[in-house]
Symmetry: C2
Subunit: 290 residues, 2 copies
C-alpha cells in the first residue's frame, strides 16, 4: 500500500511513473521468492482533486508494467478518499514448490551476493527533494536535474529483477535465501541473518555503487556506502549461495559478492581499514546526526 | 479498500468488528460468483494514534472471520498513514470453471431471487449516527440502542452468505447470474440487467424486510422499501434462476422471489398499488429530498 505524503510526493512523481513503480515494487517481492508474477489486483482511493485523465495516467503506468513483465491485471477497486491518493496492489505469483526461496535458508559460510548497484534510488530522492525546495523558494528557478538521469530513473521508475531470476536459473544457481532491497541493504542483510539464525561479515568496500551515485553523494556531502546501506528502494536482489556456486557467478557483472554468513548472531560491517562495526539498520536521520 | 471517514467511523465501530466486516465483505464478492474463498492478504495504513493493542484488535476480527469462513490469511503489509486508518484486503477464491456464476448470464423471464432480508444494515447506520449526534450534543446521555441488536449487528458485523451458496448446491440450483447486495438492491438489480442486456420487473412489496427494520424505519419516518432498495451493505445474494427452479426454492424461508427479468432495457419497480416506476439507483440524499 502506497500512501501519498508517506511513500510518494506528487509534486515530482509523474502519475504514470508512480503507477509503474507501484506495480513493479510488488512484482519484486515475488521475484525475491524465485517466483513468477501472474496477476495483480489494484485498489485506488482518491479524492475529487484527481481528474479522470489523472487516474488514466496512473493506470497507464500500471498497465505498462504489466505488459513488460507479463502480468495480468485481474481486479481491484476504486473508492473515495477524504485526503490523498492511496494505491493498494496485491500481486499473485506462482512457483514450483521446490523452487521457492525463503529468507531462512542461508547456512554458515555461504556467500552474500547482490545484483546491480545500490544507493541510486536514495540519491535520486535527495536530488528531487533538493530541487523541490529550490522551486519552493523561487518558482522561477528551473530544476537542475542534468546528468542525473540514471539516478532519477532509479527513484521514479525502478525495475524488478525478473531478469536476474531468469539468469540465475540459466546459470543453474539456486539461492539458499533471498530478499529484495526495498528498505536498504543493511536492513535486508539483517533480515536474512535473523531468519536464518546466523550472523555475517559484510565488506563495505565491496558494495556495488554506480559512479554517478558516488558523484552525487559527494555533492551532498554524504558517504556513498551509507547511502547504499540505508537508502532503500533499489529493488535489487540480495541472496546467499553455496561456496560451490562462486565460480558460476564470479565473472558475471550483474552479481557482486559482498560478504558471507557466519555462526552466531552478530552481523559485522567490515570497513576499508579492516575495522569491524556492528551492522545496524538505522533510519537515515540517525546516520546524519551521528 | 476501506477508508476511515468514508467507509467507517471509529466513533461507533469497534475495531474487532471493523476487522471482521472488512474481511467478510471481501468474502462476499467471491461467494457472489459461486466460488470458495481460499486466501486473503491484508494491508493496513495507520498513524501513530493507533496503539499496538488497537492494531491487534483489528487483526483479531480479521482472524476470527478467517477461522469462521475457513480462509487463510497469507500476507499483506503495514504502512504509515498521515491521517486515518485504511484497510486493504484482497480475497483469492477458487471455483470449477463450469460452476462460476457471472452477472451477465440472466435470460428473459428468469426469476429474481434474494437471500435473507434487506435494509437492516442501513437502518443500523441511521441509529448509530443518531446516537452519535445525541452523544455529541450531550456526552452524559447514554446511547439508546436497546431492541435494535439485529439491526446493529447487520451494520457492524455482517456475514457473507457462504451458507446460501452451499444450500443452493444442495438444492441443485445453479443461479444463471448473481451479485451481492453491497450498494443497495436497486443498484444490484440494475447491474444484473445491464450486464445481461435485459430489463426486469421488481415487485416492491415482495422485498423481504425484517419487522424490526419496519419499526425502526417508522421511527425515522422513512419508507422501509426505500431503505431496502437504496441502503446497501446487506451482503445478501441477489440472483436469477430458471423458472424450472421455482419449485426447488419456493418453500425455503431463506429465499424470496422478488421479480423477473424481461426483454428490453427497462427496469421497472412495481408498487403495491400496481403502478410501475423506472427503477433507479439513487444516492440516499436524492431519495430524502424528493
Amino acid at each position: 500500500m502506497l500512501v501519498e505524503g508517506v511513500h510518494f510526493d506528487l509534486s515530482y512523481s509523474p502519475l504514470k511513473h508512480l503507477g509503474y513503480k507501484a506495480a513493479v515494487v510488488n512484482f519484486s517481492d515475488i521475484y525475491a521468492m524465485n517466483g513468477q508474477v501472474k496477476q495483480i489486483t489494484v485498489s485506488v482511493a482518491l479524492s475529487n482533486r484527481f481528474s479522470l485523465e489523472a487516474v488514466e495516467e496512473l493506470y497507464s503506468g500500471i498497465v505498462l508494467a504489466c505488459q513488460i513483465y507479463g502480468v495480468d491485471l485481474v481486479g481491484g477497486d476504486t473508492v473515495s478518499s477524504n485526503s490523498g491518493l492511496i494505491i493498494g496492489i496485491t500481486a499473485i505469483g506462482e512457483a514450483q514448490k521446490e523452487e521457492v526461496v525463503y529468507r531462512n535458508g542461508a547456512k554458515d559460510k555461504e556467500l552474500l551476493v547482490v545484483t546491480g548497484d545500490l544507493g541510486a534510488a536514495y540519491m535520486g530522492l535527495q536530488i528531487l527533494e533538493r530541487e523541490k525546495a529550490v522551486f519552493r523558494s523561487d518558482p522561477n528557478i528551473q530544476p537542475d536535474l542534468e546528468g542525473n538521469d540514471y539516478i532519477l530513473e532509479r527513484q521514479l521508475k525502478p525495475e524488478a529483477r525478473k531478469d536476474m531470476i531468469e539468469l540465475l536459473q540459466k546459470l543453474n544457481v539456486k539461492p539458499t535465501s533471498m530478499i529484495d532491497v526495498s528498505d536498504g541493504l543493511a536492513s535486508e542483510v539483517l533480515h536474512l541473518c535473523k531468519s536464518s539464525g546466523l550472523g555475517c561479515q559484510l565488506f563495505g568496500e565491496k558494495i556495488p555503487i554506480d559512479p554517478t551515485v558516488m558523484n552525487a553523494a559527494e555533492d551532498f556531502n554524504l558517504d556513498p556506502t551509507t547511502c547504499a546501506l540505508n537508502g532503500g528502494e533499489d529493488y535489487e536482489l540480495l541472496f546467499t549461495v553455496q561456496q560451490s556456486d562462486y565460480d558460476r557467478l564470479k565473472a558475471n557483472p550483474n552479481f557482486t559478492f559482498i560478504g558471507h554468513m557466519s555462526e552466531g548472531s552478530s552481523a559485522q560491517l567490515v570497513t576499508k581499514s579492516g575495522q569491524s562495526v556492528e551492522l545496524t539498520a538505522q533510519g537515515w536521520d540517525a546516520f546524519l546526526h551521528k
